[in-house]
């Protein structure tokens, strides 16, 4: 079943001077099935974050249509919760209240909210830190809070915008493993934007490689053994080489231009 449908979406950022208008996306179409993990991979400036912002409803497509669970996307909503690169936690709320933020908006019973907060705090391994404030936590822990907060509202699609890019290498690898564990316990449809080939291979069912600006879908790659890929095995290396070649093609083009 399709959880998210992007149909022929283009996005042009207008400018005062017409020739300076930027076409960020051109006729992008993709289909994300329920409980599928899709990575959008591309160089910086290829419009992958723009695409995610359109899906989230932060911006409107210039043409085309985005559907989430059969309903057209018109504005942001909890069925498309996002995890941000800079965490975007509310600094004045404790971990508990950050996770409860979306639940409070749903006017849920407070007992049920507490139950859910406990569940998701434990799921991301922060059960002992619910009374802490974000500024007391490390970067990796903050991103865990952000993931718990987004999962708590039970989104149809979880959107992730380079969620581990601000972390150091060890933390990044650990958070990827954590993400695999979390998804094993809590199946979710996920759209992840990243520029890391390894990250996309480790986490995804499907990898969408984008072209340089204007962003188009260059190729859709199915990962042979999703979330069980072992680094340096032949199948891993094969997928990686394929993606690398696709991406470096793009690199050459931009160097000439």
């Amino acid at each position: 079943m399709s959880a998210l449908k992007v149909e022929n979406v283009s996005k042009i950022f207008p400018a005062a001077n017409k020739s300076a208008a930027v076409q960020a996306l051109q006729n992008v179409s993709l289909d994300v099935n329920t409980n599928e993990f899709v990575s959008i991979l591309g160089h910086s400036g290829c419009g992958k974050t723009t695409l995610l912002n359109l899906i989230a409803g932060f911006e409107k497509p210039s043409s085309g249509r985005i559907e989430c669970a059969g309903k057209e996307v018109k504005e942001p909503g909890a069925e498309r919760a996002m995890v941000f690169q800079d965490y975007a936690l509310f600094p004045w709320l404790t971990v508990r209240d950050n996770i409860a933020f979306g639940l409070n908006l749903k006017k849920m019973d407070s007992g049920l909210i507490n139950q859910k907060v406990e569940h998701f705090a434990n799921l991301v391994g922060l059960g002992a830190f619910v009374e802490s404030y974000p500024h007391q936590l490390s970067g990796g822990m903050r991103q865990r809070v952000s993931i718990a907060r987004a999962l708590a509202v039970d989104p149809t699609v979880l959107l992730m915008d380079e969620p581990f890019a601000a972390l150091d290498a060890q933390n990044r690898a650990m958070m990827q493993q954590e993400m695999i564990r979390i998804l094993a316990e809590e199946s979710k449809t996920v759209v992840l934007v990243t520029h890391s080939i390894e990250e996309s291979i480790n986490l995804s069912d499907v990898i969408i490689v984008m072209t340089r600006r204007p962003g188009r879908v260059k190729e859709i790659i199915r990962v042979p053994e999703p979330r069980r890929m072992v680094e340096d095995t032949p199948s891993y290396l094969e997928v990686r080489k394929k993606i690398r070649d696709l991406i470096s093609d793009e690199h050459d083009l931009s160097d000439i231009a």
């Binding site: 942001p76 996002m82 941000f84 907060r149 987004a150």
Partner: protein
């Protein structure tokens, strides 16, 4: 260890002590009697303060001044909702901004003649002048704070299900709070200065009245006592707000810096 750091702290007062001693020496042994009336020694100022405190006069003036400051602050706090609206809604800002821009550079003291004609001499006139002093710093800081709320915090709230009003009350207002408090601190400081000016010319009580009244009877010691009280109370108000803001908003980097 603690007693040692106490001693080190006292070291900061060396220059002050030397200057006070010079002052004491000068007005006792160098200045002639008329000159000494114009500059009484520190011990004389202290004696005056004791006299004012014992007679209860000092407390009465302090109470009246503080009450005016407080009432004016209550009225001026309307600047907070106004500032939030101006920061959030462009059309309100468009309409109100030109008026603010013209009124803002007029110092509160410049309103004294007009306000005496409008309100006569007394509390209302004083409070009006203080109001002007407090209002603009709070308003400008609130507008600025609201405009500078981290955009990703608003996006995060919206993709967790927050809409219009919830975004303002649960995110914008909270995120802007530290800078609004800074506005209140500055405002109360400016208001306190304006208060004394207003009381100099248009009041029958208050610290401003006290020092002007003491001038007519040549009680220089009372003038200095009044001035010191104004300084100490202004400092205390500022410190109390800073301290309570730190306690109430431990997450705010702006206040902890």
């Amino acid at each position: 260890m603690t007693s040692l750091s106490w001693l080190l702290n006292l070291r900061r007062l060396i220059l002050l002590a030397v200057l006070l001693s010079c002052w004491e020496f000068a007005s006792r042994f160098i200045l002639d009697k008329t000159q000494a009336t114009l500059l009484p020694p520190p011990t004389g100022v202290l004696a005056g303060a004791v006299e004012l405190a014992v007679s209860g006069e000092l407390w009465k003036h302090i109470r009246d001044s503080l009450r005016r400051e407080f009432i004016a602050f209550c009225y001026a706090s309307v600047a907070i909702p106004l500032g939030v609206m101006m920061g959030c809604f462009k059309w309100i800002n468009e309409q109100v901004d030109p008026i603010i821009e013209i009124l803002r550079p007029i110092p509160p003291i410049a309103w004294i003649p007009l306000s005496i004609l409008w309100f006569g001499v007394g509390n209302t006139q004083n409070q009006f002048i203080i109001f002007l002093g407090i209002f603009f710093p709070i308003l400008l800081n609130t507008i600025d704070a609201v405009k500078n709320v981290e955009p990703n915090l608003i996006r995060a709230a919206r993709c967790l299900g927050a809409t219009g009003w919830n975004v303002i009350t649960r995110v914008i207002l909270r995120a802007a709070l530290p800078q609004i408090v800074t506005g209140i601190r500055i405002g109360l400081g400016v208001g306190w200065m304006a208060l004394v000016a207003a009381e100099l010319v248009g009041a029958n009580s208050g610290l401003g009245f006290l020092i002007n009244d003491a001038r007519t009877v040549l009680r220089t010691d009372f003038i200095l006592d009044g001035m010191l009280s104004i300084g100490i109370i202004g400092l205390t108000i500022d410190r109390v707000i800073r301290y309570s803001a730190k306690k109430l908003m431990p997450w705010s980097r702006a206040l902890n810096a």
